[in-house]
Amino acid sequence: MSSAQIEIQLIAVVVAAACALPGVFLVLRRTAMMSDAISHAILFGIVIAFFVTEDLTSPFLVVAATLTGVLTVSLVELLNRSRLVKEDAAIGLVFPVLFSIGVILVSRYAGDIHLDTDAVLLGELAFAPFDRFELFGYDIGPRSLYLMGGIMLINLAFIIFFFKELKLATFDAGLAAALGFTPWMIHYALMSLVSVTAVGAFNAVGSILVVALMIAPPATAYLITDKLSRMITLSVVIGVISAIAGYWVAHWLDVSIAGSMASLTGIVFLLAFLLAPERGMVAIARRRFRQKWEFAQTMLAIHLFSHEDQPEADRECRFDHMDEHMRWNEDFSEKVVGRAEENDILRREGEYLRLTDHGRDLARTAMIK
């Protein structure tokens, strides 16, 4: 591995971690689409700030883009509160306007500046190591590594210091307000962090893929765990793994690194969606399958139990009666009886089915339930 490769991966890892941290709360608070709106709208702030500073890595850009992000959130809230449109439409109205103004400004002055919308939207991680950060004349590494590292630490610090507030405002906003916390302040603080992170990351991965890194790893973690702190850790780990794997896939196929990282986060989500221990599709299907047989066996046990030692027992407790009583076909009945025998619920005596003591207990407890 060359030093440039190591640096690219380091940046990718830091970007992924920085995005996953606020992303957890976006997913839990059902405001994931705000990240999409913010990441588009900040183009406006970036362009304005760029006109002033003419430097794509100026800290002023971060400030301007963050303000644009907050502006986006406030405009959405304003529209939403006017009750003229619903929240989803409000989001869909606000960001295209800011984005359009951004695109128009860029193309009006395209000849004079070195900024094009492709770069903002798509990003190019491979170029990141070329922009060096120098301190006292010494080269101490790529600039975006320091920028994103700083943003990651800010996000981490915010979550650690305001963990209680975040948790409360996320899961029970009403209680948070009643206890004297201000959920709307947490909301705006979080949205500011999303804006800062998006603007920091747009250089490296572009503004649309920021959304993938913010939403997909936390959504994946949400399928795996129920504990907030574990979800945060897991999101970061999943983001980092997707970033590194994405880099190598991109390297191998010679394609866009950012696109490949985003694709990987999607693949990891798909894996979790299918294979997660309790909530995965496979686990759910297996549980349903097991429940189907358990239910059939219990039904059979209850049926036998209620007719046992009754005058009609001769007729009711026969194998071929199940077709009439349970509407089971012979094949299914055969399987249920076979499984029930295996589980020591009943015994076959010729055509007759007799409950064991264990089977009687099962029927009794099932009926009490």
């Binding site: 997913v27 994931a32 689409m33 990240s35 869909g92 109205l93 695109v103 919308t117 939403i215 694709s263």
Partner: protein
């Protein structure tokens, strides 16, 4: 440039005519279909569909090597449709909510689209040039054959809306009722989603994936302000969309280096803002005016009733009362003196040389009527 010249160009300038026609078709179709998306609170589905279309466009090119409009549209539609189905099934099968599913699918598909685009660009042949125009749209590259394809597909979509009007209406407002009438709401939903996808992909080439979502949401949001009827809302949204499309095309043709897509979006956003402020029933401007009027009327009635009460208690209508008394009785003391002036202009109250106020005969009658009306309401 004067209006005459604009019209002349609209008809005789090939590029402008094509772009304007294309944008009109796009606005018309996405506006009418967007109505259903907005009413069903799925405004952001447009955003998701347009982003997820990108890998479809790239794959269609990879598989066929062709950039024919129909090939691109089919590729985009298949991917957009697949992405939407994924969103729906993720929401239905897991605890992931709609917003997360939308955001994730749109960005992951977009990322995958980028991977494919960069893969295509690395290939030696030069035919691939121009696929990126789908990102931001390149209306000026529209050709007559593109517009014809757009118009045919758009007409198809609108015919389907007409044929399944009843189902789509039920789906938007009362799904359960629709099911109970024996209509398959699930099938109607899939059909509606499918034609929404078609409506979105035919606009991609003109305004691009990023801004296409605005063309779905904005015309419908504007139309919603003017009417409470679905039929009228669809028609208005279609008109707004088409007007913004043509307007954006013309404005960007008049100015150098003004991209068409964003200009169209700003036009439709302008229509939204005007609608929100000035639309008949819901407009913020009229609303505020109405509220101010009713507040004034209430203040007037309150002071009148207070004076009526005083007159009755004293058994003497002409007995004057100082301003401070009336202010003490009012819940908004600051407005009392202004209200008294208004009442005096109407000839309902009189003021004596000591600055004390009393009801006139007319005012007493009006107050009596007012009090009786309030009694009746109770």
């Amino acid at each position: 440039m004067d209006l005459g010249a604009v019209f002349h160009n609209l008809i005789f300038d090939y590029t402008l005519r094509t772009v304007a026609l294309g944008s009109a078709v796009l606005g018309l179709v996405s506006g009418s279909l967007g109505t259903f998306a907005v009413l069903r609170r799925q405004s952001l589905l447009g955003d998701s569909v347009s982003h997820t279309a990108l890998p479809g466009i790239a794959l269609a090119f990879l598989l066929t090597g062709s950039k024919a409009p129909l090939v691109m549209i089919i590729g985009a539609a298949v991917a957009g449709w697949g992405g939407t189905l994924l969103v729906i099934s993720i929401v239905r099968q897991s605890r992931i909510k709609m917003d997360s599913a939308l955001g994730m699918i749109l960005s992951v598909f977009f990322g995958f689209g980028l991977v494919l685009l960069t893969f295509i660009q690395k290939r030696p042949d030069a035919r691939q040039a121009g696929l990126e125009k789908f990102l931001f749209g390149q209306a000026t590259a529209l050709m007559e054959r593109d517009v014809i394809v757009m118009a045919i597909l758009g007409a198809l979509v609108l015919i389907i809306v007409g044929l399944f009007w009843k189902e789509f209406k039920l789906l938007s407002f009362d799904r359960e009722f629709g099911s109970s009438m024996g209509l398959s709401m699930h099938r109607a939903e899939i059909l509606l989603t499918t034609i929404l996808v078609i409506a979105i992909v035919i606009g991609l080439q003109t305004v691009g994936v990023v801004l296409m979502s605005a063309m779905v949401v904005a015309p419908a949001a504007a139309a919603r302000q003017w009417t409470d009827r679905l039929g009228l809302m669809v028609v208005l949204a279609a008109i707004f969309g088409a007007v913004a499309g043509v307007g954006g095309a013309v404005i960007s043709s008049l100015t150098e280096r003004l991209p068409t897509g964003p200009t169209i979006v700003l036009c439709i956003s302008g229509i939204v803002i005007i609608s929100m402020l000035f639309a008949g029933n819901r407009g913020l401007f009229w609303n505020r005016l109405r509220r101010r009027r009713s507040r004034k009327k209430l203040a007037l009635e309150a002071v009148l009733l207070d004076m009526y009460e005083l007159a009755r208690q004293h058994g003497d209508r002409e007995h004057g009362h100082p301003l401070t008394t009336l202010q003490a009785m009012s819940f908004r003391p600051g407005s009392v003196s202004h209200t008294l002036q208004v009442l005096e202009e109407k000839g309902w109250v009189l003021v004596n040389s000591a600055g004390e106020w009393s009801l006139s005969a007319d005012g007493y009658k009006a107050a009596e009527k007012q009090a009786a009306a309030m009694e009746a309401k109770r």
